[in-house]
Symmetry: C2
Subunit: 332 residues, 2 copies
């Protein structure tokens, strides 16, 4: 592999000049540039990105930490991120945090140790304080799907409250009045926000959430099935169920089917996230769209702007969810 030195020799210029035409950050006479470019082509020269990084103190790599690499949600997010960076010639180092405190912290350390120029974090287990401390360090980062007021400018998040509101309002508009709710773990902000939206929609209809029709799930399929069973056992009737995410909605639907409950005829169900498989369930799940891919892309843009001084596109920090009406909700 040819080095910059050989290029400079062949072109009859100094190392510095070759470097200049590569980075074109300093004016170079057109004729000189030509010579250098020709020499590069002739030698099939490719700059050594490691050496560039060492000398410039820029790795051109961005660390991304997500909870899981698989699953419908994170894939979409990574797609948005990667596409944006690839176009900019930056590369993405990924790692998984598995929603576990130690693993997330390790992951962040790992990425820092790889000299990432910036980090995009989708962390759940790590505390606000930890992130605040991290913000005081030199590695810049953006938070996806998390809102910490003190560092709001580094947060890209969804208006979860609005999504919760939209889901329940949809049900109310379809005539439902007795609406059960299966929440996510209430220690998670997004779970709480979604529930608050639910309450707000109810309030608009002069209703309040019935504690008996509330179940705290775990955002996983079994949370939905167990939730539905538990809800049914209370003896309280309800004509609709909103689940705080699609996995739980799917679990609830499956459980309902096993109990001989017809969906949506006997029970309308709303999901949340609009994850890929929401389209594959039967009936097709009505849900709230979470524009996660766009949000990933926006996180990438944030980095491009703040870290690499790209200008252009404004960064949107708060995203709006949207109602996706499919077949799991019936008017009553």
């Amino acid at each position: 592999m040819a080095t910059i030195y050989e290029v400079s020799k062949l072109a009859g210029v100094s190392l510095a000049t070759v470097s200049r035409v590569m980075n074109n950050n300093t004016p170079v006479k057109e004729s000189t540039r030509r010579k250098v470019l020709d020499a590069m082509a002739q030698l099939d020269y490719r700059p050594n990105s490691i050496a560039q990084s060492l000398a410039s103190n820029r790795s051109n790599s961005i660390g991304v930490l997500v909870s899981e690499l698989h699953g419908p949600f994170y894939g979409a997010m990574l797609t948005g991120i990667e596409a944006e960076f690839r176009a900019a010639g930056k590369h993405v180092i990924i790692t998984a945090g598995h929603s576990d405190l130690a693993t997330e912290q390790d992951g962040i350390e790992f990425l820092k140790s790889r000299n990432c120029d910036a980090l995009i974090l989708h962390v759940e287990a790590v505390s606000d304080d930890y992130l605040l401390a991290l913000a005081a360090e030199e590695t810049p980062f953006v938070l996806l799907n998390r809102h910490i007021p003190a560092i709001a400018d580094r947060c890209i998040s969804l208006n979860n409250e609005l999504g919760g509101y939209l889901a329940t309002r949809h049900l109310l508009q379809q005539g439902h009045r007795k609406i059960a709710y299966i929440a996510g773990p209430m220690w998670k902000t997004d779970a709480r926000d979604r529930y608050h939206g639910h309450q707000r929609a109810l309030a608009e209809y002069q209703l309040t959430a019935d504690p008996a029709l509330f179940f705290e799930g775990d955002f996983r399929e079994t949370g939905g099935s167990k939730g539905l069973e538990s809800l049914l056992k209370t003896g309280k009737t309800f004509s609709a169920l909103v689940c705080a995410n699609d996995e739980m909605a799917s679990g609830a639907i499956t459980a309902a089917r096993e109990l001989g409950l017809n969906i949506p005829q006997q029970l309308s169900v709303m999901g949340y996230d609009n994850v890929n498989f929401a389209y594959y369930t039967y009936p097709k799940l009505s849900t709230i769209d979470y524009p996660i891919s766009a949000m990933g892309q926006m996180a990438a843009r944030w980095v491009l702007r703040e870290v690499y001084q790209y200008d252009g596109n404004e960064v949107q920090q708060v995203f709006e969810p949207a109602l996706i009406s499919r077949d799991s909700v019936l008017a009553v």
Copy 2:
């Protein structure tokens, strides 16, 4: 950030010695090692991985190219890969090829330019010749889900023929005799192999595939729905349908439902891949398990062995698919 130089000064040893305790590739007296370790701890020293890479000509990074970052399939694969490398302190650079020739080639160039020590490729559009040429270059790589005889030692693939065989045999064992087939694009090896397996199973029952009951799909949902409609239009009857992947099976099931066909009572359906959502369909999809996560992990091991001289675990190159029997197939 402290450098190796400061550590060496504090510990009262030379740079080389510090380097030695870091890499422990050369014996260092225990007392010296202690001093160095203490100094490191005291300074909160973290080696600069870029500098290490430049000096050692090893980037400790592995490039991974997959068709898509989202989707049920690749996520599982990435999980397997990342977990293995993370444990080894290597990091993974990912990029997407989108099953497109130019994008795949670009992606490979991109990864090479990032000084990856090795590449793990899941490529579809790029030709065998291209890969053969790549094999002649210096960057080592493994191919996932592709088999090229001339470089068989770098290929990790599934016995697709066996999977096709298992799917159809399952149907035959359940008493089905008229079996329709929706294939993937027949220019893809895996699509062809799966179909050959189908034929072999039929042959064992003294049957041959009826061309009228064959449809070439595209591995996507619409391929399944269009396939089923087309198959139905021929007027030929069939009691079972095997689809060359789960997406198409899901499309076929949805189309069937819209046409008032009961699954599995009136038509048994087999999928292929055992992708995450196969569990969320209704009825739950009987399918062929593709151990893609394990295969990703194995690709990582290949790299660890061949490139980083890890010993231990043998690398398994050909994987066996397995039948997953769920609810979309009924005995007749």
